[in-house]
């Protein structure tokens, strides 16, 4: 491994041909270490705080746990409230993700591989949606959901979430589907495969990387979604985790340690989900954000 930086090597050795492959000097690792520390300190504060007592936190807010308290975590894990909210969040995120992927893939397939009048306009409409996150539409959306009688139901959260996740999905998927070679489709059609058959048998397997990317993005967005549930869900029984965490925090505002335990447990699912598929996401975005 080369520990010499290219600059230091001039004059003595030939410039390192494999700069990009080199393992980098100690400075790089030091930098990486600082980076990790900055990234993880707040997360560590939340997780470790859950293992402390309230008096420890008050006396020494930035300290480590002295006697490890598991009670806070056990209390949260034993409470119905927490699991009910996990359940609500899981339903909302799973159903949202499923329909975003299905609807998005279907529409992207039509936009990418059919030639029809109004295709450009339709694409423009979806792409314009990317410019306007939910914030702008939240008040009328609330009125709409209320008029549909979906207040305090997960459906009232899920349907708008699907709608707002479609632009990103379509923008990522269309290039993916366009990249499938035409010859493949011709070959399939010679073998008697219809366009729809081609969609089922070839397109879906071939676009797996893109599907995983948009699926993860939709899942995490839904799992973390705050503004929409804040407007739509007012009944505690139907709260999703973000609302639950916030209401728990104001309800037990004196019991900081327990709030921290609740908070750290609430972020586990999205983290696990993401770290499992991180590699695929970067790969999936490469198609869309080709530099």
């Amino acid at each position: 491994m080369s520990t010499l930086t290219p600059r230091a090597s001039t004059g003595l050795v030939k410039p390192d041909r494999h700069t990009k492959r080199s393992l980098g000097g100690p400075a790089i690792y030091f930098l990486a270490l600082i980076l990790i520390a900055l990234t993880l300190t707040p997360v560590g504060y939340i997780i470790l705080g859950g293992f402390r007592t309230n008096s420890e936190i008050t006396l020494d807010p930035s300290g480590f746990p002295i006697s490890w308290q598991f009670g806070n975590y056990i209390d949260v894990l034993a409470s119905n409230v927490f699991w009910r909210q996990v359940g609500n969040s899981a339903i909302s995120a799973t159903v949202t993700t499923f329909f975003v992927v299905v609807f998005g893939l279907m529409a992207s397939f039509a936009l990418a591989r059919y030639n029809f009048r109004g295709r450009g306009a339709m694409y423009a409409v979806f792409a314009a949606g990317l410019m306007f996150p939910m914030t702008v539409a939240i008040t009328p959306l609330y009125i709409l959901v209320r008029n549909l009688g979906l207040m305090n139901t997960l459906g009232g959260v899920i349907i708008p979430q699907i709608a707002f996740a479609l632009p990103v999905t379509i923008i990522i998927m269309v290039p993916f589907l366009q990249a499938i070679p035409n010859e493949l489709q011709e070959a399939a059609s010679i073998d008697g495969c219809s366009r729809i058959g081609f969609f089922w048998r070839m397109v879906i397997p071939l676009s797996k990387a893109g599907v995983i990317t948009v699926g993860i993005l939709a899942f995490i967005a839904s799992w973390n979604s705050y503004l929409l549930p804040l407007f739509i869900l007012s009944d505690e029984a139907i709260y999703t985790l973000p609302l639950g965490v916030q209401s728990f925090a104001s309800q037990y505002s004196v019991d900081t340690a327990r709030v921290l335990a609740f908070t750290s447990l609430s972020m586990i699912p999205a983290l696990v989900f993401f770290s499992l598929f991180e590699r695929k996401i970067v790969g999936g975005l490469t198609g869309a954000v080709k530099g």
């Binding site: 390192d16 990009k20 492959r21 080199s22 393992l23 790089i28 990486a32 990790i36 990234t39 997360v43 939340i46 705080g49 807010p61 930035s62 299905v102 609807f103 529409a107 397939f109 039509a110 990418a112 030639n115 306009a121 694409y123 423009a124 792409a127 949606g129 410019m131 306007f132 914030t135 702008v136 539409a137 008040t139 009328p140 959306l141 609330y142 009125i143 709409l144 709608a163 707002f164 479609l166 269309v174 290039p175 366009q178 990249a179 489709q185 366009r195 729809i196 503004l227 965490v245 709030v259 921290l260 908070t263 993401f274 991180e278 996401i281 970067v282 490469t286 198609g287 954000v289 530099g291």
Partner: protein
Amino acid sequence: MTSISENRRTAPNPPVDLAAGGADTAVSAPPRRRRPRGVGWRMRLEIAALTGPALIVFVAFVIFPVVLAAYYGFFSWAGYGPATDFVGIQNYVTILQDGPFLDALRHNAMIAILSLVIQGPVAIGLALLLNRKMRGQSVIRVLIFVPYVISEVVVGLGWSLMLQSGGAANGLLDKLGLASLQQDWLSNPDVAIWSLLMIITWKYVGFAVILFLAGLQGIPEELSEAASIDGASFWQVQRLIVLPLLGPTVRIWAFLSIIGSLQLFDLVYIIWGQYVSSIAGTSTMATYMVANGRNAGSYGYGNAVAVVMFLISLTVALFYQRFLLRRDTAGAITGGKS
């Protein structure tokens, strides 16, 4: 350097105007298909079946609400029953003359600009760093995205506990012997917006890094290799070859970042709540909208604020698009591998 970027512009994707009619060029290279007469109806049916569900949900829950907002914005309406109290443009006049709204607008502008200035260089540096082969690289990549994956509520709660006056940040400064640097991070109006920017940077820089890493993967390695064989140093390669080629991705990120900054709501609302944020100098148009619209029971007014936000975002988007994205947006966002 110029020649590379020039080439890049004329290379695979034609310039496209994203928002306007340009979209037909954006998806301009679908496979041409022979369409024998008589089966046209069948294809039309397939198109309708494929695009129908997405289109219906999208129009009903994205386009329609925005139109609805424009309508209710002309009424003074408490949110129940039909809106009958037509007030014309009175809501809009009130908004544009309301000090707290103008403050919020100023905060949004400041956040938008400073987010670009702070996050851009940091994220580019991190992406270049993480794009190198190094030990533990994949672990670092996952770790840096952790803040982006955590929900705004968790981030807001964690940081507000750390930054409150008796919190961990001041405690740590005390331990380090830097007690003089202790601050009321959240309530001092001179400091609060910088605390917010620090939290925003921490939370969202990972997203920029993800995008840039994806963009970097699209740059052929042969280019950098050829340059380093010719004696270019690591930093020369990055500066003269990689960065210009990353340009389109950076411009897309900047666009998303600006729009995100203009719509900022969750973090501010969670950390400061609706009233404190205007005192602490961190209120945004969106928190103003929620506080003075829904929470005040003035739905007509809230809708008018939404329309103003929409128009500001649209104007910014169109301007950005016109002057910066025009050459290569579609290349990066849409055209992909055409």
